[in-house]
């Protein structure tokens, strides 16, 4: 329910709605975008980053919070782990059960491997479940994988690994087909044509969706398929350290039961890290749209095992997190709201930008509007910008909101806000880890037999990800990792298991003068109030 002051401020938005809806706001030039990002994007705040003192990325800059986790003590510190009698033995061990982990599991199972999934919460508790807007694939007549390539590579500031982008875009239509054949219900017209829209930074309408439950629909279907295939899933169990063999290859993981804290050992021929992102680290104090378990565990596990990271100094702040009401502060308002025609409006009722610039540019523009320009709308938690949702029905007709973005309607209706009739307040929220563990096109990290897929991997999106390329990433590279890891497992003979790399890392920390009582991986954020 809006306050009196907000309702008052809303009047100018209503008064200008019709004119604003008709506007075609110009896009920024490349120079304008660069200047905006340099001044306002959180990635450019130098004091929020520091150099790593040890490890494969020594000398590289990462966010302070991530540096603290990468240079923290192992949870095994002082514990004697018996590796001689593993509790589990499998061909492919998959850590994480979101979109990437389950896709990998299905493909590895298809390829005849013994597969086991461990996940620190439940299967499907993942950012995939929360992806609302859609999944990109260049499957329309006026589109092609090559056009998709230029959009993704350019949108990522030309920093992605070209071979990974190439794989992402050329495998995209097949990913949609694979999901359809599993029974995912995409939005289609009567004749089977996909209903597609723009996302920020796309040059063709290639966003496929399942209403605004796209990720949920995909995730629950993948979960059902894993259950149908009877792939073992060990839930409420986290991986806390990668195990290697005496040849230096990944060969399993030390696990911890999240409830009883029991330590377990899993031995495997190949290991896939699919642990997702880092929103719950709350970089720079930002709220987040992410899942409870998004704590960068995969980066810590991989780094301590000796794998190189890339682009981890760049995070995505989704332009439109809910700024009001406070109960949903930071929650995602899908980009699809803007794809469908809602524009961003400041306190004076002005449309101050084209709402479909890339996410980093849009977020920076909102931050500028709310800071130096002073055109934000005050809220209990800070400040926000109007997102004029009633424009959607003005443009596409009544009923569009219930048909295309029912989850958004539901989210605000719970707090007495009818987004069909009233605009909503938004502000950027920490959304995505653009970088991650460096991988090849086979999804293998710089550590032999250690594969990484999904948000935990880096190089696919460069320094900014486009809407709809993350759901695509988890499917394409989840499957990819599952295929390669299971194929590789056929020829692997595991040597004797060791955790000597964990000890070596501790010695390196000591030699670099790092003294800390922090332990990692973080596993879960601590939101319990301390008395």
């Amino acid at each position: 329910m809006y306050t009196e002051e907000m309702l008052d401020l809303m009047k100018v938005v209503e008064a200008k709605r019709e004119a604003n809806a008709a506007l075609e706001p110009t896009r920024m030039t490349a120079d304008e975008k660069e200047a905006l990002l340099a001044q306002y994007h959180p990635d450019h705040k130098v004091e929020e980053f520091r150099e790593l003192l040890i490890g494969p990325n020594k000398g590289g800059k990462v966010p302070n919070e991530l540096a603290d986790m990468l240079e923290a003590n192992s949870r095994l510190c002082g514990k004697d782990i018996d590796l001689s009698n593993p509790d589990y033995e499998t061909d492919v061990l998959i850590i994480g059960a979101g979109g990437a982990g389950t896709s990998a599991a299905i493909e590895a199972d298809k390829n005849g491997a013994r597969v086991m999934i461990v996940t620190k919460l439940r299967m499907g508790d993942a950012n995939t479940m929360m992806a609302e807007g859609g999944i990109q694939a260049a499957d329309k007549e006026n589109d092609s994988p090559a056009i998709h390539y230029v959009d993704a590579f350019g949108g990522g500031h030309f920093a992605a690994k070209p071979e990974l982008v190439a794989k992402l875009v050329t495998k995209a239509p097949e990913a949609i087909q694979w999901l359809s054949e599993l029974g995912v219900e995409f939005d289609k017209t009567e004749d089977g044509t996909m209903v597609t829209t723009h996302g920020g930074g796309t040059s063709r309408k290639r966003m496929h969706a399942c209403k605004d439950y796209s990720g949920a629909e995909i995730m629950r279907t993948l979960r059902d398929e894993v259950l149908n295939r009877q792939i073992p899933v060990v839930d409420f169990t986290s991986a806390i350290e990668i195990i290697k063999d005496d040849k230096g290859a990944a060969a399993g993981a030390v696990l911890m039961n999240m409830e009883t804290k029991e330590i377990l050992v899993a031995k495997a021929k190949t290991v896939i890290i699919a642990t997702g992102g880092a929103g719950r680290v709350h970089y720079q104090g930002f709220p987040t749209s992410n899942h409870y378990g998004a704590t960068a565990d995969g980066l810590v596990l991989a780094y301590r095992a000796g794998a190189k990271l890339r682009d981890v100094d760049t995070l995505q702040y989704h332009p439109t997190g809910a700024a009001f009401p406070e109960q949903i502060f930071g929650a995602l308002v899908t980009e699809k709201v803007r794809s469908l025609g809602a524009k961003l409006v400041n306190i004076d009722g002005e449309v101050f930008m084209n709402p479909l610039e890339t996410r980093d540019v849009t977020a920076s523009s909102i931050i500028r509007e709310c800071s130096t320009r002073g055109k934000g709308i005050p809220t209990p938690e800070g400040v926000g910008i109007w997102l004029d949702t009633p424009m959607i029905e003005l443009k596409n007709g009544e009923g569009t909101i219930m048909k295309r973005i029912p989850a958004m309607y539901r989210m605000f209706a719970k707090y007495g806000i009818d987004i069909r009739k009233q605009p909503i307040l938004v502000y950027p929220t920490l959304h995505y880890q653009n970088g991650g563990v460096d991988v090849t096109t086979d999804s293998m990290s710089t550590v032999e037999n250690l594969y990484v897929a999904g948000e935990a991997a880096g190089g696919v999106h460069g320094r900014n990800r486009l809407m709809g390329n993350s759901l695509l990433d988890v499917i394409v590279f989840g499957r990819n990792a599952g295929q390669f890891a299971s194929e590789k497992a056929k020829s692997v003979t595991v040597g004797s298991l060791t955790l000597s790399h964990v000890d070596a890392f501790a010695k390196e920390m000591a030699a670099a003068g790092i003294q800390t009582d922090k332990v990692s991986p973080m596993l879960l954020p601590d939101y319990a109030r301390k008395n």
Binding site: D125, V150, G154, P162, T170, E185, D191, E225, A407, L524
Partner: protein, 224 residues
């Protein structure tokens, strides 16, 4: 500081700010959640919760992350409910009424009490979608159940022992795979890609110097 209110977590009384959601109120009370907390955003169904307001007979259900606390709220979370999930091969089933009879025979024992619908945390018409499933109308069942987060509260209230979310899951997969029209432009594009139609184009792009691809990107035509 906002107003405070009294709530009862598993029967024990806590005083918490009245503007918090149940989930945040639990954390305010000092709980470090492991179970019963997932996306914190209404999509995953991890935080199913049942409650009763003191003085009120009605038992209500909600998602803890989506519901504000109220004075006198007696709260019990339901972080897990044993749904029945029969295993099947999606390639070998067909979208006929027979498959429901085979995998979920209990749906035909529905007594029409509507407790499922009344308890749905997403306000879905659960009994109606079960009726569609009984009839083998998977398209309607899929539509009606689409917003289901599979929290399982409906099943916890069902005297017939129906696992409603799993019934709906099967209906949606059957609908998505077998009943929805196949997408011709998608199939065509996959064939083209497999034939290598775009290989040369993509290789060219991968080999281009950054300055050239920047030029391409900054001047690309954007579909209206």
């Amino acid at each position: 500081m906002s107003d405070m209110c009294n709530i009862f977590l598993f029967g024990k009384k806590y005083e918490v700010p009245s503007n918090l959601t149940i989930m945040k109120a639990m954390e305010y009370a000092g709980y470090q959640l492991v179970r019963g907390c997932g996306c914190r955003n209404g999509f995953c169904g991890a935080c199913a919760t049942i409650y009763r307001i003191a003085g009120d007979r009605e038992l209500k259900a909600c998602l803890a992350c989506q519901t504000k606390v109220e004075e006198g709220m007696y709260i019990a979370t339901l972080p897990f409910f044993p749904l029945v999930k029969p295993v099947y091969d999606i390639e070998k089933v067909s979208p006929t009424q027979a498959i429901m009879m085979q995998l979920f025979p209990e749906i035909y024992s529905c007594i029409g009490c509507n407790a499922c619908t009344k308890s749905c945390t997403q306000s879905l018409n659960v009994m109606q979608y079960i009726a569609y499933a009984q009839r083998g109308d998977f398209k309607k069942c899929a539509e009606e159940s689409f917003d289901c987060v599979m929290c399982g509260v409906c099943s916890s209230r069902c005297p017939a022992g129906i696992s409603h979310p799993q019934v709906a899951m099967l209906a949606r997969r059957l609908n998505g795979k077998y009943l929805e029209p196949s997408c011709e432009h998608l199939n065509r594009r996959v064939t083209e890609i497999n034939e290598g139609t775009f290989d040369k184009l993509i290789e060219d792009l991968m080999g281009k110097p950054i300055a050239e691809i920047k030029e391409l990107y900054n001047n690309r035509e954007i579909e209206k």
